[in-house]
Amino acid sequence: MSEKLKYLSPEWAAEAFRRLKESFASADTPKVSAAMTNRYKNCPDGKDKYYYVSIVNGEVAELETGEGDGPDAEFKIIGDYDVFAMVSRCEISAQKALMGGKFKFKGNLVKGLKLASLADRLNKITSEIPTEF
């Protein structure tokens, strides 16, 4: 796929869902269940946006993007659009953004840390989508 998809657009979300679902189904994914909402502040169009993904028993069950705060998930990450974009381009790690206070995390950190490798995998897969930020 060479055409670039607009970051967080419905097309980008559909592609992200397809890739994540395939990857999680083919790999030896732990049978965990969790949901996460990323809240994007200061987006280029001036609106707040969200990216929501849920995993049920190790399978990607839902993925959606949109305007506003999005679903009230178990884990929430809140930050500026630019920082999320940098993470999505793998220019900085999500961990560095969190440790540097660029992201705010909400949820049970102990459980969240157990799922950190899964979150890294989500990011890595979506970062491979040709994206226009």
Binding site: G79, A97, M99, G101, F103, K104, L109, V110
Partner: protein, 410 residues
Amino acid sequence: MSRYLSDKSSPFYIDHPERVKKLQALMREKGIDVYLGSRLRTMSWLTDVFCPWRSYIVIPKEGLPTAFIFVIDAGRVADETWLPEENVLAFAPMGGMDQISIISNFITEECLKGKEGVIGVEAGMGCYLPEGNLTHYEYERFAQELAPCKLVNALDLVDSLQMIKDIGTINRFRHASKIVDFGHERFLKHIQNGGWKGMTETEVAGLCGYYMRQAGSVWEWSFTGGNEIASGYRTGIASCACTPPTDKKLEAGEPLMVDIHAMFKLATGDHSHNYFLGHATPRQLWHAKNFEDIVKETLKTYRAGITPSELSNQMLEFAAKRGFAEYMVPGFEHGIGMLGDEWRIGLNDGPIEYWTNPDHVYRENEMVICAMQYACPEENIGFRYENPILINKNDCEWMSKFPLEIQVIK
């Protein structure tokens, strides 16, 4: 969760939900909407887990508390406490996850549901270094983040509930004292027939720690060096009741003070025993007899209804009649409870804030460490007694049963 935390038939069972309800009843009485605990004694009493790192506990008006633990230890605390896993949260140096942000958000959103309220905090003073009162920075930041909520010092609420010990706590203390006695017995066997020769104070401390660990102690819990060992002149330093061990070698003709500490399910064993090494002079034995007699007299005197000052006066009078009052440090006890509650006796209601009220009237099922220090610096001799005691209606139960007699070890 450990078995003894949920097994009501265990002698060590403590009814934690009941503790929480009693605290919430006091909160209602005092108009406090949320209690933010930060002291080690509060963490121990409410979570029933050793929390060595900075920790906090938030008690809402109703429902279960939530503990906030430094991330490196939160998983273990969640594994060991009686609280459900979701009531143990971690804080870490991450955006929104530092202790001020996560606790403030939790109080505002989960406890107060966005309304204003009164937050009880722990902001007193203590001689005990790991007390855990809020620091100035923490207080200021919480006040800022929780505004317009009002922060009030409310540690008296927890202290008042901790004072009278329940049977599970008492049994844990009894068991911790058994462990300490085992340590003393094994150590005595080790030093008999010249076994002490060549040893240093630090070796004594380590050996006693090893024996107590064999018997199930999880920690030589005292911050005064784990086990406090003194020999020779160090036993008799003026007014000194704190002797972390040194590399001093044990010598013949010297006194040896072995003050050891075991921890069992957050109950703290603490018993000090004294010896002479090799031989003792008649004068040294005179000092020893004085010490033994005043310990016996003190243990005979403790009961519900007496106050620390009455007891001290009676004992100093006893010492004066016998001609050794000048060698007694004029205090006969310190407070004790689950780990972190080690200093003040009774409540913060005395003439000097946060210190023991000398007129505190002992009640049944209070506990203290009966603690006496005999020191004669000019003769390089001293002895220490420490033993957890349970105050009964007409007497007291001393928990460590190791014989008091100061033996001369050949």
